[in-house]
Subunit: 135 residues, 4 copies
Amino acid sequence: MLDFAAACDGLASQPFSRLLGARLTEFGDGAATLELDIRVGLQQQNGYLHGGVLAYAADNALTFAAGTALGPALLTAGFTIDYLRPAVGAVLRARAVVVQAGRSRATCRCEVYTLDEGREPLMCAAAQGSARRRA
Amino acid sequence: MLDFAAACDGLASQPFSRLLGARLTEFGDGAATLELDIRVGLQQQNGYLHGGVLAYAADNALTFAAGTALGPALLTAGFTIDYLRPAVGAVLRARAVVVQAGRSRATCRCEVYTLDEGREPLMCAAAQGSARRRA
Amino acid sequence: MLDFAAACDGLASQPFSRLLGARLTEFGDGAATLELDIRVGLQQQNGYLHGGVLAYAADNALTFAAGTALGPALLTAGFTIDYLRPAVGAVLRARAVVVQAGRSRATCRCEVYTLDEGREPLMCAAAQGSARRRA
Amino acid sequence: MLDFAAACDGLASQPFSRLLGARLTEFGDGAATLELDIRVGLQQQNGYLHGGVLAYAADNALTFAAGTALGPALLTAGFTIDYLRPAVGAVLRARAVVVQAGRSRATCRCEVYTLDEGREPLMCAAAQGSARRRA
């Protein structure tokens, strides 16, 4: 099984996660939280965070949450994301939890929030997906 | 309605799409194709393209395909992606088509391929999603 | 808005829900629970509840949960379901909650359980979907 | 591998499919088509076919299509369905095709149509899902 430090190393070994500036802030007990600082380079044409960034965060948080149950050798099978509102703020936070895990597959849910000073976190997307242990 | 040049301008106005190096190669008649050159910065830890890049490409191709039916003022409602095989190669291509479009909503499908010299395109993900006209 | 009695009448006015023997056991405050007694006629070839019954229960629970926020004139836009384990037992229970509701759309999640005497409820499926107010 | 007759027997061995009156009209070469006659008992409160019936048809067509690639010992992992228009007519037809199949998993798409005399089939739902070979 992975511990928090090893999971952080795992994230840091993903060039795309470094490009986006993602960091793990929670890993273990069936849950994982990934955060990144919102910046102009991650936006779409209206100044909102691009949906692709939300999808990245959900995909990766789901996969790390699955990793708390299945270990590091994983394949993400797929996921669904519903966008709930435009994403603006200082920080994007994706928290995923394991809904059910067997020996070879884990199904997880993820809630994606934007954080900003002086207000409560706002949920901007909800996702559900699963990952399988690599054969 | 949007023409190809206007759609390319739309894509170019998305900072995140510029960060990823995405380009439109088809837009119109209920279909849109988006491509990007695969590079190390878009990979995960095993040298495959990160799932988040595939999700970005599917999300954006689905939205542009919906834009051929609904015009440029769109909100992506959400989508589902199934990962089919590890994505390696020179170019990622996401082609989306409108399955059904009403006045306010379009449902689209997307196939994501990797291209490389000397071989046929390989499908690495399949997605389905919908977008709505912005009120 | 709908109250519990009106929601039960709504369910009873669906011939397919009568065919399956579904009943509402909770409706309000952003949540709805639908139950049905498991019987041979709802099974697949191995004696498990057919996936289509789980899908029906998730679809309808999601829609009723959305109805607590949007009122009775709804269209279900679609949903995703992940099957977690074979469904056996005496009763199927699908509980859905609203994740986010705007004026015209509500996104909901649903957990589907089987119940049997002498054991804890077992989650057999997890779903996520959305419904829109009918124009 | 299954042939058409064996697949029809498989469908007939599902009590729920008999309750709904489903029949296979195509099975093989990566595709499966399932049909059922629309009747009042399958409707919701407005005289449309219940979404749960469309979901059943998509789930089962996806699974049978996967069975053309993986054989009869299957578990449906899950699926997504987008409802496109109210379903009315004489016959419901769900046709699924394999998008990609490996040794242990097949991902499929399904289009659901209503048929009626004197008009073209109308697509009322689009689905995507996957099934795995049972261990």
